[in-house]
């Protein structure tokens, strides 16, 4: 276990370095610059800005300086904001996005697998149809449509929900719902298909023939085994939810991190592009590691093969 973790840690560092390097050079290769505007800027002003942000240096030097700062945990100054550094932006935006993401995750985790399990148990009966209709809506309705719909019809008609904005718990309900619908649907579908597979396995028959109650069979044997595919997508799902969604944050006017992912690229705000990318990569790597550990704990087969080597 220790050896495995160490190996994973080293791999994670290498992955992170690769992501930093590729993003850095790709980002500088695309046309445009952080100071571009309609019409050209007087060359003097442009040069001053280049100098201020160190963009006048050769690219490899900029890269080395960036790596050095990164190791110290310094993401640098945003090239668009003179008020906040990239670290400030992440420190401020991440808790907002993460809170929304966590709520969406809880929502998806509570209802997704349950819906899928129910569908499998009542295959081709009404509950199956209902839950799969919900799943299809969740997967196929894009979040900007769902968000607009929620604002237009729910928030405007039911006075309780604010139309966008941030501050209190009630501000988070609609966006969490919109954000959680897609993972909920994905989980429901995954759960349904794996549950159907599990229900046909011999050990379920054995369990039934042992005389266990239907409830015990489902909870102890079927769900336990069927949930594995859901666990395996959790890593990516959690990371995606935590760092926020551009669309949801824009529509609901939420000051989160998700917004920066898209805006920084449009603005060619190099330091913010790097900051958000590295931060996302960190979260993703961490979550994948957590999921793998979880997997080992739930599925004895994986542990056996690991230990067998």
């Amino acid at each position: 276990m220790k050896k495995y973790l160490l190996k994973r840690f080293v791999m994670s560092i290498i992955t992170l370095w690769a992501i930093v390097t590729i993003t850095f050079f790709l980002m500088h290769a695309i046309p445009g610059n952080p100071f571009a505007k309609e019409g050209k800027m007087p060359p003097v002003v442009y040069e001053n800005l280049q100098k201020k942000y160190g963009l006048d240096k050769p690219l490899y030097q900029q890269y080395l300086i960036y790596l050095g700062n990164l190791i110290r945990g310094d993401f640098g100054d945003s090239m668009k904001s003179r008020v906040e550094t990239v670290n400030d932006m992440i420190e401020r935006g991440f808790p907002v996005s993460a809170r929304l993401g966590a709520q969406a995750l809880v929502f998806a985790l509570v209802f997704g697998p349950a819906l899928g399990a129910m569908a499998a148990l009542y295959q081709n009966k009404i509950p199956d149809y209902i839950s799969m209709i919900v799943a299809i809506i969740g997967i196929s309705v894009p979040s900007f449509v769902m968000g607009t719909f929620l604002i237009q019809f729910v928030a405007k008609n039911i006075g309780f929900f604010p139309i966008g904005g941030w501050g209190e718990f009630k501000h988070t309900i609609l966006p969490s719902f919109a954000l959680g619908l897609m993972p909920l649907a994905t989980m429901a579908r995954l759960m349904r298909s794996s549950m159907l597979e599990v229900l046909n396995q011999d050990y379920i028959k054995t369990a039934k023939s042992k005389g266990l109650t239907k409830f015990a069979v489902i909870m102890k044997h079927a769900v336990r085994n069927a949930i594995l595919p859901v666990v395996s997508v959790l890593g990516i799902t959690i990371s995606n939810l935590l760092v926020g969604s551009f669309v949801i944050e824009k529509i609901f006017g939420i000051p989160g991190l998700g917004m920066f992912f898209v805006k920084s690229i449009g603005n060619r705000d190099y330091t913010l592009i790097m900051g958000t990318t590295v931060f996302y990569a960190l979260i993703l790597i961490l979550m994948l590691l957590l999921v793998d550990i979880t997997y080992m704990l739930v599925d004895p087969r994986i542990r056996l093969t690991e230990e067998g080597h």
Binding site: I30, P31, G32, N33, F35, A36, E38, G39, K40, M41, P42, P43, V44, V45, E47, N48, K51, K52, S81, R82, V83, E84, M89, E91, R92, G93, F94, P95, V96, A98, R99, A102, Q103, V106, I151, Q152, A155, K156, I163, G164, G165, W166, G167, E168, K220, V231, L234, L242, K250, I251, F252, G253, P255, M259, G266, R268, L290, T294, L297, V298
Partner: protein, 554 residues
């Protein structure tokens, strides 16, 4: 045994989610809680104007501001030497009076006696000198430093060649400021109302260079002061009791939300959460216009929407071909049926609303240069293509492309232009949308045939639009060059004689509209919505709607 592992799994998940939500609510509480009492609606008796500023300001330091998302807020926080009245006339602000030297180069401003910063310090001439020199500091690297290049020695200092002492702005005493310009500039007083020219409290800024980042250290000299700033969420202003004209300020404060999505902001306005809203979705403007809704205001704007023609490329090097493209556009239809925001068909390059030497509308007294004339367009195209030894088929075989930055509105207008050129002239032009940055890059490299562009003026003078096509000028993406036009621009920029200046500008625009290096499409307007109980909001062409003197009569 098995249920134990299930428990471990569940608790692990719980730990992750609890940890995440816990750390989020921890960090959040301190920033949001103090703001809650300012939610406007619950205010009793206080008059708070609520609105949306569609984008987070990059800074609220006047020297570092560079667009309306900063200036709309700054204009309520600061006041320059001069300011605009509700009719757009320039009137004294912080200055009581000024004198201009014989050679039209040196302005001497005398400041009012009763002016104070929001922290109680008196506003001095030194504050202005400090602010302008600071904005020019190459180390600060302010985007808008070039707005100060009219001052003698300014550009040199900003480029790192000159020294700060060579910048010809000097506080003679606490109340007297002397400025010497590079060349006579008839609209210099107008610039003195512009945000790059706002003063900065010298003592505060020298003691704390980061003064503008935090409301607790923020000091301003205008009608309001900065009360709170929740990044990407909300900015609130409170009335400045130290402002000399405070009796004319009816509001106790202004709340700006920062919501980027136009539709969400509009829903909030409609739901009664805003008293005024400036950036409206296109469809909403069209609908309000159709309903004749009295809340909709169509304000004037100094801006022109146009297409660059690549003057280096055959056949766009031919004047007649360019003219044909200009005359073949039915701008009225584009404005009425497609843009639908109350825009005005372009009849030249200078939009209406700017005043001439007699205080009348420049556009009206100068007359129309271009319009929709199908017969003329056809004849010009035939002549022009013949001169280049081309036929319409040759033109179409080139596969010319109109480049625009990705946006639904630009796309629709481009499609209309494409269709008009096709049906009216038989010319085939393709469309290509690219990201804004890519468009800019290709324009600069001359790697385009036709490209969409727009220019919003910086100051209230026709020159803000007219000098864009100066040979090798920084904004001349069409790569146009005409020595005669350049000379007229030089004449207009080198004189303070209004008659000579406006004559030269009119001639320059005439040449420009004969050579048409670009295809003007329409003059921008600024639609905005104001609730019926709000009074005192007005719009002068150069600024966003002025809300400083607004009143709420509920």
């Amino acid at each position: 045994m098995k249920s134990k592992k299930l428990l471990i799994l569940l608790s692990l998940l719980l730990v992750v989610s609890v940890f995440v939500s816990a750390c989020s609510s921890d960090n959040e509480t301190p920033t949001t809680e103090p703001e809650e009492p300012t939610t406007g609606e619950e205010q009793t008796g206080e008059k708070i104007l609520r609105t949306n500023n569609s984008s987070e300001p990059g800074s609220l330091d006047p020297a570092l501001a560079q667009g309306t998302h900063e200036s709309w807020i700054l204009n309520n926080l600061f006041e320059g030497l001069m300011k605009h009245d509700s009719t757009g006339q320039i009137i004294p602000g912080m200055a009581k009076e000024y004198t201009l030297s014989e050679d039209n180069l040196t302005y001497t401003f005398t400041l009012r006696d009763d002016i104070k910063w929001s922290n109680g310090d008196p506003v001095t001439a030194q504050d202005f000198e400090f602010a302008w020199k600071r904005a020019l500091d190459p180390e600060l690297a302010a985007d808008y430093a070039y707005q100060l290049y009219y001052i003698k020695g300014a550009e040199k200092y900003n480029s790192g060649e000159g020294t700060v002492d060579e910048v010809a702005v000097k506080a003679l005493d606490d109340k007297t400021l002397e400025v010497t310009l590079e060349a006579p500039t008839a609209y210099f007083l107008d610039l003195c109302a512009f945000y790059t020219y706002y003063p900065v409290n010298k003592a505060v800024a020298e003691a704390n260079p980061d003064w503008a980042k935090d409301p607790s250290t923020y000091v301003s000299n205008g009608a309001f002061k900065l009360k709170s700033w929740e990044h990407n969420a909300k900015i609130t202003l409170a009335k400045n009791e130290n402002y000399y004209d405070k009796d004319n300020i009816k509001l106790d404060g202004i709340d700006f939300d920062i919501i980027e999505d136009e539709n969400t902001a509009w829903q909030k306005y409609e739901g009664g959460e805003y008293d005024i809203l400036v950036t409206l979705p296109q469809a909403v403007v069209a609908q309000l216009k159709a309903e004749n809704n009295p809340e909709l205001q169509i304000g004037p704007e100094v801006g022109t929407y146009y297409y660059n023609l690549n003057n280096d490329k055959k056949p766009f090097n031919n004047k007649k071909v360019r003219q044909a493209l200009v005359y073949a556009l039915d701008r009225q239809t584009i404005v009425d049926k497609i843009a639908q925001g109350g825009q005005i068909p372009a009849t030249g390059i200078v939009p209406p609303g700017l005043l001439d030497e007699n205080g009348e509308d420049y556009r009206k007294t100068t007359g129309d240069f271009i319009g929709y004339d199908l017969e003329k367009a056809k004849a010009l195209l035939a002549e022009g293509l013949a001169e280049e030894g081309m036929t319409v088929e040759d033109f179409n075989a080139q596969g010319f492309v109109l480049l625009y930055n990705t946006s639904e509105a630009h796309k629709k207008i481009a499609q209309a232009a494409q269709e008009m050129w096709r049906t009216n002239l038989g010319l085939e032009v393709g469309l290509e949308n690219v990201e804004f940055q890519v468009k800019l890059d290709r324009e600069k490299a001359g790697d385009y045939d036709i490209s969409r562009a727009g220019w919003i003026g910086d100051y209230s003078d026709p020159m803000t639009m007219l000098d864009l096509w100066y040979t090798d000028g920084p904004f001349n993406d069409a790569n146009y060059s005409n020595p005669e036009y350049d000379k007229l621009i030089d004449i207009a920029k080198g004189t303070a004689d209004q008659k000579v200046r406006f004559d030269a500008m009119r001639k320059a625009e005439k040449i420009l509209m004969e050579d048409v290096p670009i295809v003007p499409v329409y003059f921008y307007t600024q639609p905005y919505a104001v609730k019926p109980y709000v009074t005192g909001v007005y719009k002068i062409p150069i600024n966003y709607p002025t809300i400083t003197y607004a009143d709420i009569n509920k």
